[in-house]
Symmetry: C2
Subunit: 221 residues, 2 copies
Amino acid sequence: MTDSDALGTDARTEAPRARGGRPRASSRRTLEDAASELFLEQGYAGTTIDQIAQRAGVGRNTFFNYFAAKSDLLWLDVDETIAALPGVLDETSEDVSPSAALERAVTALAARHPHSAVPIALSQREPMATQEEFLSAGLSRFLAVAHALAGFLAERVEGHVDPTIVRAAANATTAAAATAAGAWALAGVERGDLAAEVDRAIAPVCRGFASQLDARRPTGA
Amino acid sequence: MTDSDALGTDARTEAPRARGGRPRASSRRTLEDAASELFLEQGYAGTTIDQIAQRAGVGRNTFFNYFAAKSDLLWLDVDETIAALPGVLDETSEDVSPSAALERAVTALAARHPHSAVPIALSQREPMATQEEFLSAGLSRFLAVAHALAGFLAERVEGHVDPTIVRAAANATTAAAATAAGAWALAGVERGDLAAEVDRAIAPVCRGFASQLDARRPTGA
DNA sequence: CCGGTTTCGGTACTGAGTCCATAATGAGTC
DNA sequence: GACTCATTATGGACTCAGTACCGAAACCGG
């Protein structure tokens, strides 16, 4: 609904197209590490960008060369998985119905996610002050995924379905997947298979929309 | 997932329990009007809180006595409808299955919404700079609705269903409803019936979860 | 050595949101 | 009426994220 270009709000993600110019001072990872340390020490809200930059031995402005916002630091691991979504969508078999393809794609994406990769804000139980900012920053990820799924679905249904229904299916599926992923992340050490959890949550949604998404003729109104 | 108390992030919503104390200087509505005017004149991003307060003839801090954030002004009408959700849930018949109750409740809520009440950020087409902030502020509304629905559902299924599934159903339904509502709001003058649109979007979700939500025994794992 | 290009880093600014102390205003109480 | 007490208004000062600008590194090709 918002844009179409990218997933995160990263400023310069990873484009090693260095054609001349001053070389990077090894910063990106350094900043992530510095931030993680400080978050553990003083919490997210209690850490300023100045402190992060300072610990990383870097100017404050340089921080914004790598991250568009402080809150992007909360979603580092997740962003990597989300970045794989376009590839997963491309690889999704053409031989199944749209609703099944949707389910498979999302589950496949979840399967790619490292078992240990859990956002800092969830692994450490901060004084709850973060939650709002964490979720707020998560919204752009949600929208990116939902948007990609909607595009994928729209292509598969080839205009046979009301666009609003297509987007509703994509959004609802994303919401269900996010719910499962959140529960999985909060489950602590003995958490099971993310893909299985996600599939359990999205399967009903995909099934519910199947009759409309998989119809070859425009449905309803 | 976040909290349980309220819908909006309003500071002092409406508790006319005035037992002594300095009377309110008629401000709340005055502030809303001043803000609406300024938004139309200069857009949301181009308007500062100082300007709003000044036009309302009020100190800057007073603004924060009525609204917790500038972005709350974008969701005024919607907040009123959301505030009616608890009542709608209470009135929802006990005679239907949980999944049907969910669908009915959400549709009933949509039916209450005034046909002309569309968030400023959507009715006027601002230079798109707002969108992000608009949605970001909308997140707390989304979460409030989803949380309320999850609680409602949890009560109806009486522990027969995995809580994660319950929340997935609530979140997915909310997402579908929000999608429909957004499309409805953007449809311009000839938009039809909101409740019908919402029902069209959420029905598949509710149907999809029906077999699990309506089971009298724990399902699956 | 000379543009071109990229990153780095400092200064300065805007504006949201918070904190705090103080005044204003009214309701109850004696 | 005088004295609390609770509530709201308001102004000043502050923190900090995010933006804009600019000049200085640092590397590239020629």
